[in-house]
Structures are given as C-alpha cells and as structure tokens.
Symmetry: C2
C-alpha cells in the first residue's frame, strides 16, 4: 500500500480486490492439495509472526505470501470435498458474492432507518423460506410472527428461551425463576444447556431426558410426560420444550406432533431446532420430518450448514414476535427515530442479542435467486444419495456396522472389535485418528449409549462420488492395518 | 448461472467474483451520488420483489440490476463521506479483503482443531493490539488473561457480566441472584441494561446513576460511593461496575482511576467499555483517557467503528479467562478432541455466546499490516482534526452552541432557539429532519439533561474537509430557513 493512506479509494479497491479474487479462485482450484484437517501443533503460528504490529505499511503481496506460507498450514479445510466432519459449513459462489456485497455496504442494520433494505429484504427472504418449508402462516411477517436471521442456532435457542422465561416470569412472578424447568432429550445440542446457564435457569432444572437406541435417540413422549407429572407435582413450572429435527450426534428426529401436544397442554414454549435437517425439508419427500411444526412457538434452521449460504446465517421464525421484543428491546434516546416511534417498521435489534447486525439477507437472496429452488432440492438430494452410497459401502464390509439408521446425509458407523475389550471404543478412536492424520479426509465422532461412533457427514459443496469412494478405501485400509496389529 | 449446479466451481467463482469487484468499486466511485440517508417509505421493497423464491436460476446480471434498482434506494450509505450519524462503521480495502478471505475459507473456528490458524492468529493480533493500547500485561494471552473477538460491544458486556454474575453466585450462593447489583452512569450504552435483562439481574438492581453537565456526563465517584454505601447497608451485593470511555451520546469519559479503586474495594468486576474511543487511544496523546485500565477486569473496543475493520469486530480483553470459561463452556462429546482435552489450546467457543465463529482475525491482521501503526494513528488524528474544524465553524456562528466539550471526533451542538418555547428541542429536531431529508448528509441526535442535541460524528473513511464544509453550509442554510419561519 502507499504510504499515504487512502483506505477506501475505489481504484485501489478494484485493483486489490481483483488480486484477492484470483488468490481465492486459485485456492479453490487447488483445495484438494491441502491436508483436510490441519496437521500443525499447538502454538505453531506464534513463532512465525512478529511480536507486535508493524509501524509501516506492508504490501498486499507480502500478506498473501504469508497467508500461503503461514496461515494455510493452520487451516482445516471445511470446503474440501473430503471434509466429512461435524456438519458441513457450506460456501458457494452465490453466498460468497453476497458476503462481498454485504461487506462493501458495511451497514449496521440495527433499526429500519439505518438501511431499510437490510430489514425489508430479510423479512421478504424469510417469508420466502417459510413458504418453501411450508411453515404455518403464523410464522410469516404478515401476521403476529416473523423470521429473523441470527448468527447461530445457539443464539436462536437463547433468544427464544429468554422470551419464554420472561413470559413465565410475568405470569408466575419474578421470584419464580428457580421453579422454571426446561425439557429436551440428552441428544439436544449443548447450545440449550448454555442458553440455560446464560438465562439463569437453575442447572438442576434443565431436564436432558435420556434417549436411547429404542427410539433411535429421539425423545420419548412417555418419558417426557412422566417427568412433567413428577415436576408439576413437586411445584415446579415447566416452561420450555426443545425438540430437535436431526440431532448433532446422529440426526435423530424427535416426534414433533406428540411433543407439540404435550407442550400445548402444559403451556410450554415449544422450540424446534432443525439447524441441520431443516435444509432437507425443502424437498417434498423430506418435509414430513417437520410435520408437527404447527404447534411450535419457534423454528430454527441454519442456512450456513447445508444451504449454500456462507456462515453465519441461522434463520429463526417465531409466532409471537412481541414475546421476543419484550425480552430484548431497549430504546435509548440516541437510536430513536420517527419510523421506529410510529411502529411502522421492524427494528431487528429487538429480536437479537447484539445491537449491530450485518446485511445478511443479501447472501440468502443471492443463493435463492442464482440457484433457484429446483437446483437447491437437487443439491440436497445429491448429498443424501452420496450418503446412501457410503452407507451401502459400509454395509458390504462385514468388519463394520451401521449404528443408527441413516435419515439424511450423515452415516453413523463403526468398526467392529475382534475381541470385546472396551466394546471397540479405542479401536474406533484409533481409526479416526489414523484417517484424519493422513490429511486425506476429515471425519468426527460421537458417543451413543457408551459406544464410540464414527460420523461421516456428506455435505461439502465440492464432494462427488469419487471422494466418497476414496474416503471409504482409506477407512478400509486403516481398519485393516489396525486389525492386523 | 448454468442449470447444472456447480456451487463452488473455481473458474465460475473467478468470473463472477471479478464482476462483483467491479460492481463494488463502481459503487464506491459513485457513492456521493446517493442520498446518504435512504429516503424510502416503510414497506417499499415488498412490492418490488416476487412473493416467493424462484424455481429456476437467474443470472448474476439480473440480480445486480435489481441491487441497483431495488436495493440501493433502501440503503443508508454508512460509507458515504457525508455520513456523520451515530458512530462510524468503517470499511476499508484491507478490512474488505479480510472479509473476502474469511468468507472464502468459511471455517467455523469454535475449537482450535477446527482451524488452528483462526484461533492462533486471533490470540496474536489481540496481543498486538493490547500492546498498541499499552494495556497491562495481565490482558495478554501469555498470562491468565487474553483477548477475544466478539461480534459487538453488546456481546462483550454480556459475557463479562455473566462471568461476574457467576463468580458472585459461587461466592454468595446461587439464591443470591436477586441481591446482585450493577452500577454504571445513565450515559452507559443500553447494551448494559440488555445484558442485565438477559442475565436475569433484577431490573431494580440495575443502577444507572445520573450524570449531568457538572461532570460533562461522566459518572461521579461520589455519587457511586454514596449509592454503594446505601446498597450494602441494605444487604445488597455490588458485583459489577461498567465505566465508559467515550459514551454514545457525547463521548463522556468516566474517571477510570477513581472508579477502579472503588470497584476494587467492593470486589466488583470492573468493565471498561471503550467501544468508540478505544481506537483513539493508539495515539500517545490520547492514551491518557484509558489511564486506570490497570484496575479493570475487562476492556472492550470496537475495531468496526473507527479502526478500518469491517463489521463485526469487537475486541474484548479479560484478565481472568477462566472466569469467562466457567460461565460459557460446554463440552459435548461430539466436539471433544485431543488438543482440547489436554488443555494445550484455546477453544474460543468457551469465550462467547455462540458456538460457531468466523475467521475474523484475518481482517484485523490485514488492517494492521496493510496500513501500519503510523498510518492508523494519522487516520485517527485526521478525523479529530476535521471534527475540530467543524467545531470551529459552529463556534463562529452565534446562532449555534457547542453543548459538551469535544474530546474525540464527535461534536455535540445545537441551534439556539429565538424564543424559549420548549428550549429549542422542536427546532433542533426540525433542523435534523431537514438536513437528513436533503439526502446530502446524515446526522443523528441525543438528549442530554432534557435538551435535544445534534451529534456530528466524523469518522467515515472517505470524509475530507470539503464534506465537513458542505455539511456545515447545509446546516446553516436550513437553520436560516427554520429561523425565518
């Protein structure tokens, strides 16, 4: 850069951003050359960088050289076609272009007035998505509800938990906090527990009910009912039920219609976390998995997982937006303006934890328009087909077993132990370490009923059948090596 | 886009992203042609867009045409050189390039293993910044403290409030929540009140102590001490004190050394919110405003306001990272990994509300390297000089008054009323509406001791002296018109 600082000169921006585009396109072109899981040791970067910020400007080229030499080795390549860990984190051309445009405007859309398009486009694309998912009309912005983009599913469950908590406190008195009880299965994402900690729910009132193989790790309505009877008899107040469609460990689907009925009879807030599997529900043949959403107070899915929308973008719908706003609004003088005071507009600051917010609806809009619904459905179906293909490969090898039924694009499997030392847990952990250490693929694990399980999650945009086959071949080879020892 | 979906084809990415770069560079080239404050009416966008998402893909050109025709009118141009509202939201070439690279990797850096570079670069650049601000060594990652990038100052104050709350509950018992009291001036950002609501602090225990013109709207240590004596005598437990360096309304600076001593003697958590003015403290001549930071438990500044780093990027330092982690950690099986289990690494998921997190340190690193410390200091000084220039213009016109002393780059001023109807509040509101409705500039307001005040915040990267002069000319002209009526 020049010594004279021109931090936003249009022509310098053009020149440097073109350079960055080529750098990024080249990265994607060679992405398969990198180890999928970074192989660096803790603290690797400290010695490669100076101890303090430079006094004088450096050139873009020198920074890009450092990205290549020093940063790349420490990157775990979530966009690699051989990335099968956790759940996917989709980038796409449309999502990336949306991020660029959003960063260029760099507006802070806390109130409508601070960029009306940011608020209004968000309302519109969330209505589009609600229709695509066939959510009940109560979730549309035309009624008393509406959608909002949160950063993550953790924030989504937190804000609705707060709304539910405050609704209960208004009803039962502000000293009843210690009586409020939350219900969910023990397969529910840890974000719920964190939300409870933050909201001051007493830890002993956070009921994470045991789910096991008998229900394929879904929450049993009977177990829930029993717990509720017991708690209400003890004078406790059930106020929040969280159901999951596609749990993190094994894509279990809680029985929404039954849970919804129970929630209704106890007047609990009913939240559905479909962070992962919600995306699949845009296909008519998978929509059944959210049957029962009619009874929900709130519904969440992450576009940044499996919907080609760059992180972060977690869409949340509520039936009663005023419940959210009552918990989260503040109205300082310095933010007052006519449009807000006359209540003609939505101010999303009151639907979320932070005040500031990015123009994230741009990327959603671009994904929907540049790809179209049919292509998005094909995209989901293709990953599920690839997961089925992997499942079939596993089934053909008698040394392995499928642990839970595959529903979407996650396969939970394990290598069967020869002798029953620890049930094969160490063996599978070693298998995971071996394939991940190769750099050729990245998978993660979970534990179900004490069993260490390997998770193979298909969903990276670049993944094709050959990557599945190569991953399976590597798993087989490492399994053979381990079993031979 | 093609009908065959290739969501991350490198050559298609290259082609489309180059096109987007030119679109964005052209936007910056013509940014002065747009009304700074969007002039649309609520609901304007609904009629311009279809009712549902398209079934089939559309071309990038058609989307860009729509951005121009339908989105641009609804954008309030925070990057315009004539943007003087709220506080600035800095974009820069370096920040923008960092956003591009971060979106390209699209890694979710919740744990070290998920991209070691994301965690380690964050630790390193936050140490760089801590040194640049001359924060005490306790805030460096080498000791028991460290820095972390939060999305916003709201999240920063929330996470430290939770850490302080839980520390107090461990000490005084979990049933003592209703006795916990928070202290700050009534000029403190509304984010503190929101954090209290979220954390379940009883609203009547949130002491927002009156600050007035006698202290230039800074918190008086005497007022604080008196309140503390009263509260402790009533059996309440003071646990959190928030001081501000550069309040949102008027850049008031709370007296940190005195407040720090008081916090210490009551064993309260002492948080410093320097969201706005922290940036100025990289200049030796402004560093004095954070003298007293030695006694703080936590310190926050927003790089996304006035430090050329695109939103969001709010840097938080704590002296005791374990206090944060105790409140915010969860450790589900599916995220366990060797590096985390052996405690050799930092897992930033336990320092924040969400689980997922973007690779935000890239943009900080690029800003520091591509500009260098000396240029960043010049950048800050230039804005302060421009604000001084505006202040001098206001002082020369006897129809106006400066309301509070200008310290950084915000000028608080007002038009003096001819007759003392409502003290001139309506007059100044009309003046604000008139200049904002012109589209030629955007300012915002506040109210101090009942007086409606105009805020002129210099800080947009493209602002030069001619924009200040033009804004002042417009203010004078509209004032003349109003006074003539």
């Amino acid at each position: 850069m020049d010594n004279e600082l021109k931090p936003m000169d249009a022509e310098q921006l053009r020149e440097h951003a073109h350079k960055m585009v080529d750098f990024i396109a080249d990265y994607y072109k060679t992405i398969e050359d990198f180890p999928v899981l970074s192989q660096v040791q803790p603290g690797y970067l400290r010695n490669l960088l100076p101890e303090s910020a430079p006094r004088n400007p450096e050139s873009l080229q020198s920074v890009l050289d450092d990205v290549q030499k020093k940063i790349f080795p420490g990157v775990t390549h979530w966009q690699s076609p051989s990335y099968f860990a956790y759940y996917p984190s989709n980038s796409s051309i449309a999502g990336f272009l949306g991020e660029m445009l959003s960063a260029a405007f760099n507006v802070i859309g806390f109130s409508w007035i601070t960029s009306p398009a940011a608020t209004e486009l968000e309302m519109i694309v969330l209505d589009w998505l609600a229709k695509l998912l066939q959510l009940p009309d109560d979730f549309l912005s035309s009624g008393k509800g509406g959608g909002v983009i949160q950063g993550t599913a953790s924030e989504a469950v937190l804000v609705v938990l707060l709304a539910a908590r405050d609704r209960a406190l208004r009803r039962f008195g502000k000293d009843s906090l210690k009586k409020l009880v939350v219900y969910a299965s023990d397969q529910t994402h840890s974000a719920l527990q964190k939300a409870c900690q933050i909201g001051g729910i007493h830890p002993e009132n956070c009921r994470l009910l045991k789910a096991d193989f008998s229900t394929n790790y879904a929450l049993s309505p009977d177990v829930l009912s029993e717990e509720l009877s017991h708690d209400t008899a003890s004078g406790l107040i059930p106020f929040f039920l969280c159901a999951t469609v596609g749990t993190t460990s094994s894509t279990a689907v809680d029985p929404l219609p039954e849970l919804g009925n129970i929630a209704k009879s106890y007047e609990m807030w009913f939240h559905i976390d479909a962070a992962y599997a919600g995306s699949a529900c845009i296909c008519p043949e998978y929509r059944q998995y959210i049957n029962g959403v009619e009874e929900a107070n709130s519904f969440n899915m992450n576009l940044h997982k499996w919907f080609l929308t760059n992180f972060d973008c977690s869409t949340l719908w509520v039936k009663d937006r005023h419940a959210l706003i009552q918990s989260l609004s503040t109205n300082p003088e310095f933010l007052k303006n006519k449009a807000s005071q006359t209540e003609m507009v939505v101010d999303y600051k009151d639907w979320q934890i932070p005040l500031g917010r990015r123009f994230r609806s741009l990327k959603v809009w671009m994904v929907l328009r540049l790809y179209g619904i049919e292509n998005l459905q094909k995209y989901i179906r293709n990953h599920i087909k690839l997961a089925e293909h992997f499942e079939a490969l596993v089934c053909k090898d008698p040394r392995f077993e499928i642990v839970t039924p595959r529903i979407f694009a996650l396969v939970c499997f394990r290598l069967l132990p020869r002798k029953n030392e620890d049930g094969g847990n160490k063996l599978n952990q070693n298998l995971l370490d071996a394939v991940n250490a190769s750099g050729n693929m990245f998978i993660s694990h979970t534990v179900l009923s004490g069993k260490y399980i390997l998770r193979f999650a298909v969903g990276a945009p670049l993944t094709e059948e050959n990557h599945i086959n190569a991953a399976w071949k590597l798993l087989q080879a490492e399994a053979s090596a381990l079993l031979a020892n």
